[in-house]
């Protein structure tokens, strides 16, 4: 094996009552690599991402960040103990999340959104947080909007602000949950452009997406999820060029029309 993966997802199951949304999903994300998760609506993609940072605690299985289990820890006697909410909080700040609905805090300016968690959670001095926050806003090309409120921004600008907010926490990996799905087509490019640059800079990323061309272009590995299990996985060339399973072929054909 050699290197410890940045994120390891190990046999994650998730049920809501009788409904089993994830039925044992495992994969590794190595440092600097981009893993895309594709699949039809209801295949469990978004739930998987929410399980990775414990917004939805998995019903069973575990997520490891650089070898450290997120939801449990090994105590002095070698026994596995579930972590408290405070400990989970401390772990999940290592993962930057970008949501489909942006979820910017409307009562704070763009810069306010970006520096909030670094100051309150990472306890960074305000000056430092602002300096790094501005750098992040420059990366997403939004530095001229730093004192605007989210309500005055376009969807694409809001999503770029949300990306800057996640970057400002200097996360070990970025999780993108259908980051362009609620954007008008003419606004998706500016967001995909930013994500493309992040990938090129060596950011570790898990990208849940419906943009097949984009997944093809930026991913090191693509995972096709079907009914809560990995139906097929491989390099973009394998997944998009030579799909093996009938389901993946069917799924991809819908996007080729």
């Amino acid at each position: 094996m050699g290197e410890i993966p940045r994120i390891r997802i190990a046999d994650v199951h998730k049920s809501f009552g009788p409904l089993e949304v994830l039925r044992g999903v495992s994969f590794d994300v190595h440092r600097g690599s981009v893993v895309s998760v594709i699949g039809a609506s209801g295949s469990g993609k978004s739930t998987l991402l929410r399980c990775v940072n414990y917004l939805e605690p998995p019903s069973s299985g575990e997520v490891y960040i650089e070898g450290e289990p997120l939801g449990s820890r090994i105590d002095g006697r070698g026994q596995r103990k579930p972590r408290s909410l405070a400990e989970i909080n401390a772990m999940r700040r290592e993962l930057g999340v970008v949501f489909q609905q942006f979820n910017l805090w409307p009562h704070m300016t763009v810069l306010g959104n970006v520096i909030e968690a670094p100051i309150r959670v990472r306890k960074l001095p305000r000056k430092e947080a602002i300096a790094y926050g501005e750098e992040c806003l420059r990366r997403v090309k939004l530095i001229d909007k730093l004192s605007e409120y989210p309500a005055r921004l376009s969807g694409g600008q809001q999503q770029r602000a949300a990306i800057a907010r996640a970057l400002a926490m200097r996360p070990k990996a970025m999780l993108f949950d259908e980051a362009t799905s609620s954007l008008d087509p003419e606004l998706t490019d500016e967001v995909l452009g930013v994500m493309r640059e992040l990938a090129a800079d060596g950011t570790t990323m898990i990208v849940v997406t419906h943009e097949m061309n984009f997944a093809h272009e930026i991913s090191d590995r693509v995972i096709f999820l079907h009914q809560g299990v990995i139906e097929e996985e491989g390099s973009p060339a394998e997944i998009f060029g030579a799909p093996k399973s009938e389901r993946l072929r069917q799924f991809l054909s819908k996007y080729r029309k």
Partner: protein, 233 residues
Amino acid sequence: MSEALKQSLDISMFWEYRAVFLEGLTFNCLVFLCSAVVALSVGLGAALLRINRLWPMRWIGTLHVEVFRNAPDYIMLVWVHFVLPLLIGILIRRRVEFHPFLSAVLALGLVYSGYFAETFRAGIQAIPQGNLDAGRAFGMSERLILWRIALPQVVRRMLPEALNLFVSMFKATTIVSLIAVPDLMYNVSMVIQQEMRPLPLYSGAALTYFLIILLLSSGVRLFSERWRRKILA
């Protein structure tokens, strides 16, 4: 115009006693401010109980809201001032008496905490879940999320309704004269007993309340609306 009507609208007598009345009005403001603090903090507590995960907590919150929202402030005032000290006295086996000011603040604060609890609850529940998820995703504690993300939005959302509640609350401070808190109405009644001219004095008091509430509430509305609008798309 009839002589009687002319007399009752002539508020020059009210003006003569302005020093006494101003002193009374200060008491109205004090009672208002203190009971607003009680109403807001107890109301927030009750709202948080109402949305708690545990049903016994929710139950206590609901009980609080229903008891205080459905009690007339007049009766609550009398009850807090006369009955509550007796009950506490029995519990601790000592004679207890409440200062009228304390009773007034407690009674009004509690009654309005029932209303504020509902306003807070509606405000908290109106915040999109994703907004709170974002806080959690960045490792913020539930407390941080409440104070930094939820409440600042709740306050802006509930402002118009809260303003109405504050107006009713300020008007409700007039009933504290019943238990001899020397507020404006109390002092007016005292002067009426001396002068035997109730109509102009009541007119003066009405005009005073009207002007104060009108000025304060339009001032607050003017100041808050721009601040509030900034966050709403």
